[in-house]
Symmetry: C2
Subunit: 400 residues, 2 copies
């Protein structure tokens, strides 16, 4: 068994562990665990197999007697099952959607039973590259098999069954979470009561693949990456530089030029003169900070696996194309687009809305935020309110 | 003296030299050389000094008796003095603006004397990091001083004097070339007869700095970078991975999602199934190809120096701000914006146009291209024609 640091970093000045993954001897925090396939290896869409996989998930609220009030929240690339709650032992970050989930919030835990599960290939408790492969006794590392959005959704279907949920009142997600939500409604139309999708797409575009590629490349180029087998590296010696630059690159296309101008402009706490290469404008310090912060909660191998998963996302694959696949959807749906999102542009959401219009009730909301793609995380009023209203109507049966 | 490969790579399958710079024992191609400061060290804006600097430049056409038909073309980041002509010994690429320069072309060499000089800090003949510092007898490498756009323009002013040109009929440039053109008109309003600027800005924005940072970081993170002292590395062992990923990142924001969708979509010559991490969509192969191609004509240190130069670009620095600085401009000007350019968005050009309007004749042209920022290189009809018309009117004195 690999030796891994058994506590998470407490100070940002400590050298980071080789991986920011959650490891099995850490406190479990609010995680619950579901043995996805205890009897046999779990076979993935691409043919890879995972022996004894587990899913880490969290729930909030109470499932009603008819199991009719369950909402599945699907997380994005660097998210995890901890969509709601505080940080604490085993849980380095507060809930990534705290403003959206809770009593009286759009996903009202007084009314709904809200579920969020870390995706397969993730690094916060669900089986992923940082997990031990029982067949070898070693952590998977770079040998973890390719996972697709369809695999993730199928694993979530098993979790739903385990929780006694035959049909979700709503499946909700932004970005990579929206890919899962859409795939839910295509794979299991009868299990999906409605869809709420923000800033997502029916198939990754060439430009999205390109951005994904350069982030992956930054990690693969890091000599400390070691073919993905870096979990035994001492503190501070994992593939931190690679993951750091991948994160800097991502933060640029997750936000917007408009926001950066507003927040940073050409400001510089570091004196510009005398000129020197090492000088940092404030925007650079911000990206350095984000690059540092992700080290304590994310894993470089998961970054590779989930980015490839997004690149492979195409609801139309093997189904006669995107438009043909979308015809399988039978539930009411709402889609939202962020004005400044140049990573998942509005046209990608409109493509889906146009395909659904006429066959199911479908709405589209424009979100006026300068936060770019991250607007799916940061606008509880503009996205949360229509989401709450929409799901409320679904619950009352006033959209069907 | 450092040992460097004395011929440029002839086959793309050969391992690349440590640097794609031009070195002094290579054929000079069409380069002419100007000793910028033969008597004393050339002192830069930031205080750095270069002993015995030289400028490599090319000219096309004939300077008229009154020296009134000279047009200065300023190159962009990875450009050089070879704006026009074929590839050949010492010159790995054909002219980067061949469609714009030549008899009957917008910069008509039957009428104009066209000059283009490699910038200070460059790597194609002008003194830069790959040059030998006579004070140490070694190549500058990572010790090359910081160069600003103002330094470049001042060096071009010295070259103009050397060529007998007191006043340019026009100063022309796109992107980093446009920064130089604008700085010309601010620094030397009496020496600048008109401006033609495409896809450029009066000051680098936070987002532009961010993109610049991640490209630099990719190089700095490459262990083969060696503090910039890699010129002695054997073939194939320079900072190629770092420069490669910097180039991939840049190519994404130099082009546009719209173009990538049109050209590549989700196409894949490499079979998608069985799924694997190493799989390449066509867009990825394209970026890999661009990343490979730049190795034979560019230098990683120059990449760092010129990106920092662009980040420091701010015509308003020390002049009371951008709008105040732009008041110094006295010449007719034309600005062009590319519809899909999200790196140098239209608003940056409009800011300058708005500042000039009312004080000098100013025009603005919208270029309808899906080539993104690179539209400044690729649209000889949409940008070349208005450019040719504009300079023609300047030459006839019909705009003044």
């Amino acid at each position: 068994m690999s030796e891994v640091p058994d506590t998470q970093r407490t100070s940002p000045t400590d050298p980071p562990p080789a991986s920011g993954a959650w490891f099995e001897h850490m406190p479990s925090g609010d995680r619950q665990f579901f043995a996805l396939s205890p009897q046999r290896a779990y076979v993935l869409e691409g043919g890879g197999e995972i022996v004894a996989p587990q899913i880490a998930y969290e729930t909030w609220g109470t499932l009603d007697a008819a199991a009719g009030n369950a909402v599945l929240v699907c997380h994005a690339l660097t998210g995890d099952a901890h969509a709601h709650g505080d940080s604490g032992p085993g849980q380095p970050t507060p809930g990534w959607w705290n403003d959206f989930i809770g009593p009286g919030r759009p996903l009202d835990t007084d009314r709904y039973f809200v579920v969020c599960a870390n995706v397969l290939g993730g690094c916060q408790g669900t089986s992923g590259p940082a997990s031990i492969d029982p067949t070898s006794g070693r952590r998977w590392g770079g040998d973890f098999p390719i996972v697709t959005v369809r695999d993730v959704v199928r694993s979530q279907r098993a979790l739903a069954r385990h929780l006694g949920i035959q049909r979700w009142l709503a499946v909700v997600g932004g970005s990579m979470g929206g890919m899962q939500a859409l795939e839910w409604a295509v794979s299991y139309p009868n299990r999906c009561g409605s869809l709420v999708i923000i800033a997502s797409t029916a198939a990754a575009s060439a430009q999205q693949i390109a951005w994904s590629q350069v982030g992956r490349q930054a990690i693969l180029d890091d000599p400390a990456y070691q073919g993905g087998h870096y979990y035994d590296a001492p503190l501070g010696e994992g593939p931190h530089r690679g993951l750091a630059n991948a994160r800097r690159i991502a933060m640029i296309h997750y936000r917007s030029g408009e926001e950066f101008d507003r927040r940073f402009d050409r400001n510089s706490n570091d004196p510009i003169e005398p000129f020197r290469l090492e000088h940092r404008f404030d925007i650079e310090s911000y990206l350095d900070y984000q690059a540092q912060k992700i080290q304590s909660r994310f894993d470089a191998n998961t970054y590779l696996i989930l980015n490839k998963m997004m690149d492979l996302h195409d609801v139309g694959r093997g189904r006669g194309g995107v438009e043909q696949a979308l015809k399988r959807i039978t539930c009411p749906s709402i889609f939202m687009s962020v004005r400044t999102d140049f990573l998942y542009p509005r046209s990608q959401q409109i493509r889906i809305v146009d395909a659904l219009r006429g066959s199911v009730p479908v709405e589209h909301v424009d979100v006026d935020s300068d936060n770019g793609h991250d607007g799916f995380l940061t606008e509880p009023e503009q996205t949360g309110e229509p989401m709450g209203d929409f799901i409320g109507k679904i619950a009352k049966g006033s959209i069907a």
